[in-house]
Subunit: 319 residues, 2 copies
């Protein structure tokens, strides 16, 4: 069977099934935003990797090279933020055609370096290869205080589910570009910003946390599957900004679909017991649902119950 | 200017020039086979990444998926071995077209898993992406005892230069395949084996060490540039196996060129003071040259002196 019929989620399951761990120092392997290894008395080591592929994650018609470089760093930092940690080192692997102009590489690295400086990330290595299209692979290494580690598997029944900001803007922007339309959402797609500082603050108080890289629906399903719980999301509570609503209108689409099944918003989603909400009252975040016992299922409440399905899939979805 | 006119070495210099390190925990950043970070009292942490790109590093006509998976692990373990260390964790990022068959992924992972089991490497994460051609990026994390770290920059004047085995076989095999010829060298290209155990033993006694991934000439230049020394390589001392000599004859080429300017042999090259040679007498290795003061230059001795130039370049070379 081809990957387009099989899908990313099934492929990850298939691959994971045959993997064997040889070390007790692995706190968490595959199945979260970053791998977690024992490090010292106070800290865990976090390792994550993310790839941007030309014509899939970015398009040279729409992005400047600086924007591609910046986005490559933001998307990886977001994975470290969602564990409650902070980034420290990066390895950058570039695959590029031989006819790539060195100016492109300069500008790409301007974007990479600008964001590495912002987050104080040390670029300590990488790789250069020749290939048909541009592939940027970032490997990011970070740390988290042991007590602050936020695993997907840590959601508890009756936890509230919150997000740190508006969702769906990035996907609305992408759809505008694909349909040759204009609108403010485009900026969210081209210039995403991750929520590292907010993740650091939240990590002291929350249970499960994740970044919204594949749409709210996928992230809720990930948390529930890892935590062995159910959940309800209240559609009307999902925060959307005005641009997303306006731009979805131009595209004759439901903006909530962008929020649920889009991706690359890089907001954080987390679960927290209601009685602990007062601890995070200075931080902007919005309740969108609740963790339920597993037997109650994972669903969206929109006047009536509706089963949640996964959002963006690398191999199945058309973007 | 296009990368094909600029070349890999210049591009790495250009990129490195603008990088800034923010942490004192970086023992060695860009410029060796792996990055070196402080870890605990006895160990450094090693991080390396290597990419195999379809139609550049492998070709589906020649390689089975298992062989591609195995080679991806061997080439990365070789980089850890050359630092004197041992591998422990891996993150695997795959970029594949949507029409890739899931059987291909299964078989690729059979190769990856077989070699990870051999080296007791824990696969702790990775990434899946959709792209035009297959790109396999492996990020490998290992450790080395502080006293055993072997940096390229550690060669001393009058050190002997040795290699752990025959060179040029892999490139001879690639050239046979490209020219539709048969010969035993093909096996070295398709099924390379790195020298982890020998690297571990050598690391107790040697100064600089590196793996021969881009040809002997490039590796000697790397060691000399990092150590700020010169060197002489005696062409007649470079070890070649009979297959390489025979297969080069079929191709009407000089087998020494494959050794010097080929690559992917994954033997180790190292430098050691002559008086310490007795410490490694149980290990098969061959003296090929000597480290000289910088002002004497870096050259190949073949009846007369000849300036050494770099070998395989991702962007400039045709393979």
């Amino acid at each position: 069977m081809e990957l387009s019929g099989f899908g990313e989620i099934e492929l990850i399951k298939k691959i994971s099934k045959n993997l064997r761990l040889f070390s007790k120092d692995v706190v968490k392997g595959i199945g979260d935003d970053a791998a977690v290894l024992k490090f010292d008395k106070k800290h865990y080591l976090l390792l994550t990797t993310d790839t941007l592929v030309e014509d899939d994650h970015f398009n040279l018609k729409w992005f400047t090279p600086e924007q591609i470089g910046s986005k490559a760093i933001e998307s990886n930092v977001s994975d470290i933020a969602s564990m409650g940690g902070f980034p420290k080192y990066a390895l950058i692997s570039l695959t590029m055609p031989k006819n790539t102009n060195t100016n492109f590489v300069d500008k790409l690295y301007n974007g990479i370096n600008k964001n590495c400086k912002k987050y104080k990330i040390n670029i300590i290595g990488g790789n250069l290869s020749n290939g048909k299209n541009i592939v940027i692979n970032v490997m990011l290494i970070g740390f988290v205080e042991k007590k602050n580690l936020c695993l997907r598997s840590n959601a508890k029944i009756n936890d509230l589910i919150l997000v740190t900001g508006n969702l769906g803007a990035s996907r609305a922007g992408l759809q505008l570009l694909k349909n040759n339309k204009k609108g403010n959402s485009i900026n969210y797609y081209l210039n995403p910003k991750c929520k590292l500082n907010i993740g650091r603050k939240l990590s002291n108080f929350v249970n499960a946390m994740e970044d919204v890289s594949d749409g709210l629906a996928s992230e809720v399903l990930n948390i529930c599957n890892e935590s062995k719980t159910g959940a309800v999301i209240y559609k009307e509570k999902i925060p959307l900004n005005k641009n997303t609503i306006n731009d979805a209108k131009k595209l004759k689409k439901d903006p909530y679909d962008y929020a649920l099944f889009g991706g690359e918003d890089f907001e954080l989603i987390f679960t927290i017991p209601e009685k602990r909400l007062n601890k995070i009252k200075g931080i902007k975040c919005i309740v969108v649902g609740k963790i339920l016992p597993k037997k109650q299922g994972i669903y969206l409440f929109d006047k009536r119950k509706k089963k949640l399905s996964y959002g963006y899939d690398q191999f199945k979805s058309e973007i």
